[in-house]
């Protein structure tokens, strides 16, 4: 082979190798460019999520009911600790632990951070950082705290371990409260240390909004205390008190028993999960005679009766062979409409409903808000169950029983909202629990929202006058507060079960509008399965204690001179 040929072959060989290298380079740098670039970036990219602060929940006066606090925690990365004994002895006095306890947790083979202590105040964290102990790191951790203890726990709700609301306001306003997480995007070197001159993108977290409730903590606490006393003294299984501001629909207090303790670390138990729902809107019951007020409102508004209209209450009516009696099984004779309410006459109530007819009767009930959602800002609301003449399973007996609050299932919130409409001169407001949302960008005020003028102001005033006689009747005289008039109606309804009503248990309740002349409070007090079964016996005494407290706190003057008073 001649030299010229050898050179040619060598040239071809080198050219081939060169081409191979070029092809490979093109493959890496063009074809696989994106993939390899992403891989390279991922190998030294370090992203840290910056958690936002969850917003606070405040009462109507700005007192915190739920607050998020950042507490520090200290961890040790075993392999990074140079001198175990020295590190333990330096750290121990700063966090109030014994050095032996810390030494026991240092594992030189475990590269993962080991928690030494959490819940550390910021000052302690700063001291630890200042000590610059090798292998010791600190970071902050959110925790939810409740300065008022378990006050209004079933309204506030709770957050889970992932810091999302699981019930109540925490769940309903989770998006507003949660905020938006931030991001810290940096680059690490091969030793997993941050490259100072590398890329550093900082997207700050947006803190959650603060929610201002319509609830007043003093009113709430008073309601909870009275309810707890009443439940205990009447050996009830539970109960609720809701106090609403009729002119705005704002809930001033909503106490429910049984409840749970927000500060109890063991609250996530199977037996307590049923308590996480908002009972005011998620549980339904038969209200009983308190609904006679609404039957009467419909009758007065429609003009089929007036306060002086009379009915012959024989104590019994029969429809299709079914006998309907008064609660005490006796007749009241010829009585007027005010006396129908005073004696809580079932016969009188069915008389009004019969005069109205099913179309108009159910029209009024629907307009008062039964059978549909109230729209209150609580999760899990149900519409209740109202059979009307437009539904297939309705019969004429339903009209009679519905007129005195039986055969119908409602929520506590529906009852107090309907009563608020009477207090608010017939205008029904949407019930609400939140009056303000304070975001970092400004304050969003949630205005009161009128829903419907159900009855005229004149009818509402007439009805309130009739209801005053109910609470001022002889049988309840001992509970009357001198100087003030309150309008109200008691109710006693049997527990409805699949087997029927013969359980021997009742829902004993009273609704009240106070003061009757210009109501500032619409109140529902309900006790579940009390020993003394009647609303007049168990719920009215609670009202008699609640009203003076409200009048004093809200500075409601008496409407007339207190007899014997100064």
């Amino acid at each position: 082979m001649s030299a010229q040929l050898r050179i040619t072959w060598m040239g071809i060989l080198f050219l081939g190798i060169g081409l191979l290298i070029i092809v490979r380079l093109v493959f890496f740098q063009v074809v696989q460019h994106s993939e390899l670039k992403a891989k390279a970036a991922a190998s030294h990219r370090h992203q840290v999520t910056v958690p936002p602060r969850r917003g606070d929940i405040l009462d109507r006066n700005g007192q915190p009911l739920a607050i998020t606090v950042m507490y520090g925690l200290v961890e040790i990365i075993g392999p990074q600790v140079k001198n175990h004994e020295l590190a333990a002895s330096q750290l121990a006095p700063l966090i109030g632990m014994r050095p032996e306890e810390i030494l026991a947790r240092i594992d030189p083979r475990n590269p993962a951070p080991v928690l030494i202590k959490s819940g550390l105040p910021a000052a302690v964290v700063a001291n630890i950082q200042g000590a610059e102990i090798s292998g010791v790191t600190t970071r902050s951790d959110h925790s939810r705290h409740y300065p008022e203890g378990s006050l209004a726990s079933r309204v506030i709700g709770l957050v889970g371990t992932e810091f999302h609301g699981l019930g109540g306001i925490e769940h309903y306003y989770d998006d507003e409260l949660a905020g938006i997480a931030g991001l810290l995007d940096t680059e690490l070197d091969s030793a997993q240390q941050e490259i100072i001159l590398g890329r550093k993108i900082r997207v700050p977290a947006q803190d959650g909004a603060d929610i201002v409730l319509t609830i007043d903590r003093y009113t709430q606490r008073t309601a909870e205390r009275l309810l707890a006393d009443a439940v205990a003294s009447n050996k009830s299984t539970g109960g609720s008190i809701i106090i609403m501001e009729p002119s705005t629909g704002g809930v001033l207090a909503s106490a429910t028993l049984p409840t749970y303790d927000l500060n109890d670390e063991r609250r996530f138990r199977p037996e307590t999960t049923a308590l996480f729902k908002s009972s005011e809107v998620a549980d339904q019951y038969e209200p009983g005679s308190v609904l006679k007020v609404l039957t009467m409102a419909a009758g007065l508004e429609d003009g089929v009766v007036n306060p002086q209209s009379t009915v012959n209450d024989t104590g019994l009516v029969t429809l299709n062979g079914v006998a309907v009696r008064n609660w005490n099984l006796v007749g009241n004779g010829i009585i007027n409409m005010t006396e129908v309410l005073i004696h809580s006459s079932n016969i009188g109530a069915q008389y009004v409903a019969s005069r109205l007819g099913p179309d108009r009767f159910y029209d009024y009930f629907t307009r008062f808000g039964f059978g549909k959602l109230t729209g209150v800002d609580l999760p899990g609301e149900i519409p209740g169950m109202v059979r009307t003449n437009r539904t297939s399973d309705w019969n004429k007996l339903d009209l009679i029983t519905n007129s005195f609050g039986q055969g119908i299932a409602v929520t506590s919130m529906q009852v107090v909202t309907a009563m608020s409409a009477i207090a608010n001169d017939g205008l029904r407001m949407r019930p609400r629990l939140v009056r303000e949302i304070r975001t970092p960008n400004g304050v969003q005020t949630i205005p009161p929202e009128p829903v419907e003028q159900v009855i005229s102001p004149r009818t509402a005033q007439t009805l309130r006058g009739m209801m005053v006689h109910v609470l001022e009747q002889k049988a309840l005289e001992q509970w009357r507060l001198p100087g003030y008039h309150a309008a109200g109606k008691t109710g006693t309804a049997d527990y409805a079960t699949i087997a029927g009503y013969k359980t021997g248990k009742t829902f004993a309740s009273v609704v009240a509008l106070a003061p009757a002349e210009a109501p500032r409070f619409a109140i529902l007090i309900r006790l579940d399965a009390p020993e003394a079964i009647y609303g007049g016996r168990v719920a009215v005494p609670v009202l008699a204690e609640l009203l003076p407290a409200l009048y004093t706190y809200y500075r409601v003057p008496p409407s007339e001179a207190i007899p014997g008073g100064q």
């Binding site: 007192q63 607050i67 902050s140 300065p147 606490r221």
Partner: protein
Amino acid sequence: MAVVIVTSPIPRRWAPIALPVLHLPAGIVQLAPFVLALLLYPAFFLSVTSEAVTTGSSVEKLRLERDNWRHQNRQLEFELSKLQSLAWVENEAVKRLGMRPSRPAIYMSMDRPPPASDRLLPRSLARHESTQRNPLLVTETGVEISTVPSIPGQRP
């Protein structure tokens, strides 16, 4: 005989110093500033980088400190709200100060027998008689508290 020789000052002349002239190629002379800049650039880069790193570190420390203060502020706010909570206030009032939950006071009007004669009393004391019809405040414990100031020498 004295001879005065007047001399006029001789003007001093500065002879120009002949500096050696480097006859460098024109290209090198033109490149010199670039070379100098190239030599200074690493020092300048290091200086700026060092400054940036130091400032960045200070900013990080300040940011950390600010966060710590914020956290501390929140913790104090929480402590404050706990101390203002109704439960705490009530607990302190009952356990530490020995107070009791308030109950409505019962006011009773009680007529007292009129005084025998104002003339028997000094004028300064007689004016108290007009307040004798004030009610007694009966507390829940049944203790009667008279709103009438007691008068020395008179039976309460």
